[in-house]
């Protein structure tokens, strides 16, 4: 029986949106965040992101593949999941999911295909039997790797990034919209919510890639590019500042207005969410990484590579926790306060086992990395040969003839 302080309506004492609803925006956030990193290279021509562009695309794809799992686990009846795709409408934000998810997934699939097309063809040429048939089918039967065709790929990737970036932003913005559009709950109902979700998605995506990039480089015995870590740290810092500014702005505005909701939200933040909001989200997850990244960004010239990598990694790890605690504080926090604005229920503890338990949540977080490993087996994330610009590659022409 949850403890109640103050005056809470009887139907406000249950936390219906459990840990899986915390995991849902967390996982979807990586999709958008990782895509932003790819777009920085493909769309905005940030050359320093080249070593992580493919890793980011693959990460986005793998997280996208399981983005619906938390919702299915929460709702049950996974066999009905397809209904949301075949019956989209605009009377509920959640029902728009079908359009946004499938639209973005198509863009992501196409982008992966265009980025990997040359390697798919080369693998098909090198292989025999079933493997050859598989890669030939993936290549859709065209083996054209002429410079002109690769230039077309290049342009297609750019175009898809141009569509993919707003699609990724909308996909995650709408997750925030679901909460921002619940007017009965003052902790959720703010137009800032989609923006905060989106920016924190960028933070989590870049933070994950800072870690993934270094781990995969270490595993593959490749050098860690200084410029790449430095650029990611810089963008991470930028998005962290924006996110925390907006997160605080929302609260400061409520406090300054001293609105009727502030009475209960101030209690919520200082009692029920004291640890997860103040200690984890704001101090451990925001202030500390802010300082660490500030050192990386402003003292670039004086830092040894090892120090830079360590500082960026620690900051990224803390930011992954920060974003998770932000999702937790929004999703769970919003259910601890009563619609009376005069009562709170005691904190929520998720179960360890069960469909929506902690173990399943951990498994969900691990699953995309397993998928990433499978992805790497099928379409190697690191190029075997040094990267070459498709437009300046006359050597590819004879290769086509030998096919």
């Amino acid at each position: 029986m949850p403890e109640i302080s103050g005056y809470a309506f009887p139907n406000d004492v249950h936390v219906h949106w459990s840990l899986m609803i915390v995991m849902y925006p967390y996982i979807t956030g990586f999709v958008a965040g990782a895509f932003i990193v790819t777009a920085l290279y493909h769309l905005f021509g940030k050359k320093e992101f080249e070593p992580v562009a493919r890793l980011a695309l693959a990460t986005s794809f793998c997280f996208m593949a399981i983005a619906t799992f938390p919702l299915n686990l929460h709702l049950g009846h996974a066999e009905r999941a397809f209904n949301v795709v075949v019956t989209p409408h605009f009377s509920s934000a959640m029902a728009g999911f079908g359009l946004l998810y499938s639209g973005y997934f198509v863009i992501l699939l196409l982008e992966v295909w265009f980025v990997y097309r040359r390697e798919i063809i080369e693998t098909a040429r090198r292989s025999r039997g079933v493997k050859r048939a598989f890669y030939a089918a993936l290549a859709l039967g065209t083996y054209d790797t002429s410079p002109e065709a690769l230039e077309v790929d290049h342009r297609a990737v750019k175009l898809l990034s141009a569509f993919g970036l707003p699609a990724a932003c909308m996909l995650h913005g709408y997750v925030g919209f679901i909460f921002g559009g619940i007017k009965a709950n003052p902790w959720w109902s703010t137009p800032l919510m989609p923006v905060i979700f989106l920016l924190s998605a960028a933070v989590s995506g870049i933070a994950l890639l800072v870690l993934l990039y270094q781990v995969t480089a270490k595993l593959g015995r490749r050098p860690i590019e200084r410029e790449t870590v430095q650029a990611m740290a810089r963008w991470l810092w930028f998005f962290l500042i924006l996110t925390v500014t907006l997160e605080l702005l929302e609260i400061v505005l409520l406090a300054y207005e001293n609105s009727d909701a502030w009475h209960i939200i101030s209690q919520l933040l200082t009692t029920r969410l004291e640890f997860s909001f103040i200690s984890v989200q704001m101090i451990g997850g925001s202030l500390v990484p802010f300082i660490l990244l500030a050192i990386v960004v402003t003292m670039n010239a004086y830092l040894h590579d090892r120090v830079r990598n360590t500082l960026a990694s620690v900051a990224s790890l803390l930011l992954l926790v920060q974003v998770f605690s932000m999702r937790w504080n929004v999703v769970i926090g919003g259910q601890l306060l009563s619609k009376s604005f005069r009562g709170l229920r005691s904190g929520y503890q998720p179960s360890l086992f069960g469909r929506e338990g902690v173990i399943v949540a951990i498994a969900l977080f691990v699953l995309p990395f397993v998928l990433l490993w499978v992805f790497d087996r099928v379409l190697p994330i690191e190029r075997a040969a040094p990267p070459a610009e498709p437009s300046r590659e006359p050597a590819a022409e004879p290769a086509r003839r030998t096919a």
């Binding site: 103050g6 005056y7 196409l110 859709l140 054209d144 002109e148 065709a149 077309v152 009562g343």
Partner: protein, 153 residues
């Protein structure tokens, strides 16, 4: 154009997917979907069929327990339905006849739901501070001292 052949292939594949989806959708969307809004209207009747009403209301209790109902309707608990403290009618009556003994919730938490002291309640409403009432009521049933059907004390 020659070098963009693969682009046309992938676009054609996409078109095929869209066509399959559009055709498949007509089979997948239930017939009554959208009749009165974005939901399957047949589900309303289906749910009603598989979920017969469990509660009967105080009047249905009065059919057999007329005296008890009369006492309740005369007392302070007249607005509290029988099935709030007793179980729903379906647990006790089946096909118009008694099927099982009626369970009763005698816990203090049930009474506390309305009578626990909360700032938001009207001052005149009978309320107690759980920890102070009779040296702490936990584990002690309120109905040992109070008559639940027509409470006066």
């Amino acid at each position: 154009m020659e070098s963009a052949r693969h682009v046309f292939r992938v676009l054609f594949l996409l078109l095929v997917v869209v066509v399959i989806f559009s055709v498949g959708r007509t089979f997948l969307v239930p017939k009554s979907y959208g009749a009165y809004g974005p939901y399957r209207f047949d589900n309303v009747a289906e749910q009603a069929a598989v979920r017969p009403p469990q509660h009967g209301g105080s009047a249905s209790c009065g059919a057999c327990h007329a005296e008890r109902l009369k006492a309740v309707t005369a007392g302070a608990h007249r607005k509290v339905g029988c099935e709030v403290c007793h179980a729903p009618l379906a647990r006790h009556v089946r096909d118009g006849a008694r099927s099982a003994p009626m369970p009763v919730d005698r816990s203090f938490t049930l009474c506390a739901r309305c009578h626990r002291r909360i700032e938001g309640r009207p001052a005149a409403f009978p309320q107690i501070v759980l920890a102070q009432h009779q040296g702490g009521v936990e584990g002690t049933a309120c109905i040992d001292c109070h008559e639940p059907h027509s409470p006066k004390l």
